[in-house]
């Protein structure tokens, strides 16, 4: 079972993990990744970050990414939550959690999901700096390389 959400509200990691495995006793391992807003970028202090997305395509892209993970690994549960709107340092941006009978599937599926999400889901980050001004975050080559290792 997969749960995918795009929301402005914060997420509760403990509540999401509880929901991921509710009623299941066949789970042997849970993989979890939480991305958070960092307070610096390129030596400048980040005051806030605004996440923009493409409503409609976002949900389609996330569903496709989750379906691919489910095809590759024997997942018992899978949760992907991505926040949009204006966030401040320390806040959670994205949560990816997977449950499986064994740890390797859960850990690998979690890494796959966040790597593919970063390069295939239509979200864009805009940083506001404490000293004024702002900029759109540029895509990183490292993210493409991380996603490429899952291509087959």
């Amino acid at each position: 079972m997969a749960r995918v959400r795009v929301q402005e509200a914060p997420f509760d990691v403990a509540a999401e993990l509880a929901a991921l495995t509710a009623g299941r006793t066949d789970v042997g391992g849970i993989g979890l990744f939480v991305g958070t807003v960092r307070d610096s970028a390129g030596g400048r202090t980040v005051a806030a970050m605004t996440l923009e997305h493409y409503p409609g395509m976002t949900e389609r892209a996330l569903a496709a990414i989750v379906a691919e993970a489910q095809a590759r690994w024997p997942l018992i549960g899978c949760t992907v939550i991505h926040r949009v709107g204006r966030l401040t340092p320390g806040e959670g941006i994205v949560l990816v959690a997977t449950a499986s009978a064994h740890r390797q599937a859960a850990l690998d599926a979690t890494a796959f999901l966040i790597d593919w999400l970063k390069t295939r889901a239509p979200f864009w980050k805009h940083e506001e700096f404490a000293d004024g001004g702002g900029q759109w975050v540029a895509a990183r080559d490292e993210d493409d390389a991380a996603a490429a290792r899952w291509v087959r």
């Binding site: 493409y54 389609r60 239509p122 979200f123």
Partner: protein
């Protein structure tokens, strides 16, 4: 055709979306960009460096050779930076 713009393309163009009537010359994403870039100085600036512009046709990623037609929803945006 409904055309959507996101992130800095939206800011440079000054529109989140617009309806455009396609001339016959527009058959694919590349020729659509040629057409859109001529609509205003903001459009021209947004499409000045096509290497940093990505496209989706009907909410699926599409390359410059992908065909487009009148009823499509086409979006232009920078490389994605979520997660």
């Amino acid at each position: 055709m409904r055309v959507l713009y996101f992130a800095w393309l939206r800011q440079k163009i000054g529109l989140a979306e617009e309806e455009v009537v396609l001339p016959e010359s527009v058959r694919d994403v590349a020729s659509l960009i040629d057409f859109l870039a001529a609509r205003s100085p903001g459009h021209a600036e947004a499409f000045a460096n096509r290497a940093v512009v990505r496209c989706a046709v009907n909410q699926d990623f599409a390359g410059p050779d992908a065909p487009v037609r009148a009823g499509d929803e086409v979006a232009f945006f920078p490389p994605v930076t979520g997660g």
